[in-house]
């Protein structure tokens, strides 16, 4: 039985299409319901739908053998896994955004609101800027508007949300896209199957 963890939401739907397109479809997956586990006994597949940020955990701890997750999640949680293929969709980037016309005051630490604490700290350490990190769980765009922070670090797709909140990208940190990941131990024991899935997906890209 090969266990596959997919994120809920749009990336998960696209990820499932990738599997379905190369012949690993699973009955029931396309129905809109609240089920979280889908099993195809015959072909030995079990899909599970989990929160995007949890996919890497499921794979690292071996509850899933493989999974699909954004590089942004991998950069933030740094799981001990293999990252076998860039699937090319779910493209976005980590960026620093600030209110339009913002100017950095280097005489004091920069206040940064983000849900991605590790990525933020590593980036500002690499550019040598002292910061104060404000960890939020969502709607980070609000923080600079009401003076909670000077700037934000977030993932940016089209930039619409930023524009609507009168924010603009002031620095790019890293690009992200969906990745096929595998548990390091499971990969050794299911190498033939996982390699086959990877090469089929690569060819279908």
């Amino acid at each position: 039985m090969l266990n596959i963890a997919l994120p809920t939401g749009r990336m998960g739907e696209k990820a499932y299409r990738c599997f379905a397109d190369i012949g690993y479809d699973c009955p029931g997956m396309e129905n809109q319901n609240r089920k979280l586990v889908f099993v195809d006994e015959e072909r030995g597949l079990r899909y599970m739908l989990v929160k995007p940020k949890d996919v890497a955990m499921y794979v690292e701890y071996g509850a899933a053998d493989i999974g699909v997750v954004g590089r942004d999640v991998i950069m933030e949680s740094q799981p001990d896994i293999y990252e076998l293929l860039d699937l090319g969709f779910g493209k976005c980037r980590f960026a620093v955004a600030a209110p339009e016309g913002w100017h950095d005051d280097l005489s004091r630490p920069l206040r940064v609101a983000t849900t991605y604490r590790r990525v933020t700290n590593e980036y500002f350490l690499s550019v040598g800027r002292q910061i104060e990190t404000i960890k939020l769980h969502g709607s980070v765009e609000l923080a600079p508007l009401i003076g909670l922070s000077d700037v934000i670090v977030d993932i940016v797709e089209s930039g619409t949300t930023l524009r609507e909140n009168k924010l603009a990208v002031v620095a790019e940190i890293a690009p992200s896209s969906a990745r096929l990941i595998a548990n390091k131990s499971s990969y050794q024991f299911n190498r033939e199957l996982i390699d086959k899935i990877r090469s089929k997906m690569e060819a279908a890209k």
């Binding site: 590089r71 001990d80 896994i81 890293a174 990745r179 390091k184 131990s185 050794q188 024991f189």
Partner: protein, 371 residues
């Protein structure tokens, strides 16, 4: 020696000890404490730099040992040419993702003065036999830090780029390797050598052929020759199907310089065995001996293999006001049948027994009321 009533987790360490002794390894016992400075100076050798510390009566900052190998390297005398040791110790570490320290049962062996060639085959064979004692369904992934560091030197990249690149190789991420090397101009040969690290054929001969084909210098070729010789010796032990080249497997270049390896067992998410050649650790202590070794993380194994028991004991013997000698006779009789027995006056909570026997019933049946 092993008893039939012993559980698997009690038997395995005895089995491993017997295995290591059969190859002439001697047991190494160490204190639970070392000075904190020992770990501060060698923090990169540890997988996590958090150490459990306390202040000794004389004011020195001490640590509960997070590792055994560092102590063995420190205690090795410069004149000792060969020393084969194994250990079974508790180490204190923070588990990944956890916010507290855990006591971890670790067994391992160290071969001080280990030459290249046979010594490596012997340690790899012992690593395989240790894994086989747990499950026949295992693989040992093998890499060579000499090969990797010789490759890194060819690229002439700065330390920060190198650590980003190594992390990407460790994840087998072709995408992140490309990002790490974004602003660096490399020859086609160099690129090929880097990307081949994450795409190793499963067959050992093919893997070595690929490593030879992309090698950029003599040092990389030497590493391939060394591996080929070791694999030939491992073939004698019938281990070829259990070994895999896995060059994405990276140990710290500051300490490890030759063959390194990790053992995986089917059903367990993380490597349970990890080791390799760490000549550079001994050099940090001013010692010239080469050294090889591995450690086995027993905590990770228990959870996955211990079958939940149906019963804690075979017989729960309930006695009342009988004479102690009558109770003792009944206990001896049950043990003589090869069953386990818990004798008590009242039923202990949270104990499940296959069978509850009242001493009054036994005595009534046998009518042997005298002792």
């Amino acid at each position: 020696m092993a008893q039939p009533n012993m559980s698997w987790e009690e038997r395995l360490p005895m089995q491993l000890r017997a295995l290591y002794r059969s190859y002439g390894y001697q047991i190494y016992k160490m204190s639970d404490f070392e000075t904190y400075d020992l770990y501060r100076e060698n923090k990169n050798f540890l997988s996590d730099n958090k150490v459990l510390t306390f202040t000794d009566i004389d004011g020195r900052l001490m640590a509960l040992k997070p590792d055994v190998t560092i102590s063995i390297a420190k205690d090795t005398k410069p004149e000792e040419s060969v020393r084969k040791l194994f250990y079974s110790e508790h180490v204190f570490r923070r588990m990944p993702g956890a916010n507290q320290f855990t006591e971890i049962k670790q067994m391992g062996l160290e071969y001080i003065g280990a030459d290249t060639g046979y010594a490596e085959a012997e340690v790899i064979s012992l690593a395989c036999q240790s894994l086989a004692a747990i499950s026949e369904n295992y693989f040992l992934g093998i890499s060579h830090m000499g090969y990797i560091s010789a490759l890194m030197r060819e690229l002439k990249i700065d330390d920060a780029t190198q650590s980003t690149l190594l992390a990407a190789i460790g994840r087998k991420s072709a995408g992140d390797i490309a990002i790490a090397l974004n602003n660096i101009s490399l020859s086609t040969q160099q690129q090929k050598a880097i990307y081949s690290l994450i795409e190793m054929p499963t067959d050992l001969d093919n893997a070595l052929a690929q490593m030879r084909a992309v090698a950029l210098n003599e040092e990389m070729l030497d590493a391939v020759d060394e591996l080929a010789a070791v694999f030939n010796a491992c073939a004698v032990c019938g281990l070829m199907s259990k070994l895999r080249m896995e060059l994405s497997l990276l140990n710290d270049l500051e300490y490890y310089n030759g063959i390194v390896f990790q053992g995986y067992i089917k059903g367990l998410p993380r490597a349970v065995l990890s080791g390799g050649r760490y000549d550079k650790l001994l050099q940090r202590f001013g010692k010239k001996q080469p050294a090889l070794g591995f450690a086995l993380y027993l905590n990770d194994i228990w959870g996955a293999f211990i079958q939940p028991k149906d019963y804690d004991v075979d017989v729960l013997l309930l006695y009342a006001d009988q004479k102690p000698c009558q109770i003792a006779t009944a206990v001896q009789n049950i043990l003589a049948d090869g069953r386990t027995v818990l004798a008590a006056k009242i039923i202990p909570p949270e104990i499940s027994a296959r069978e509850v026997v009242r001493l009054t019933d036994i005595l009534a049946k046998k009518e042997n009321k005298q002792c």
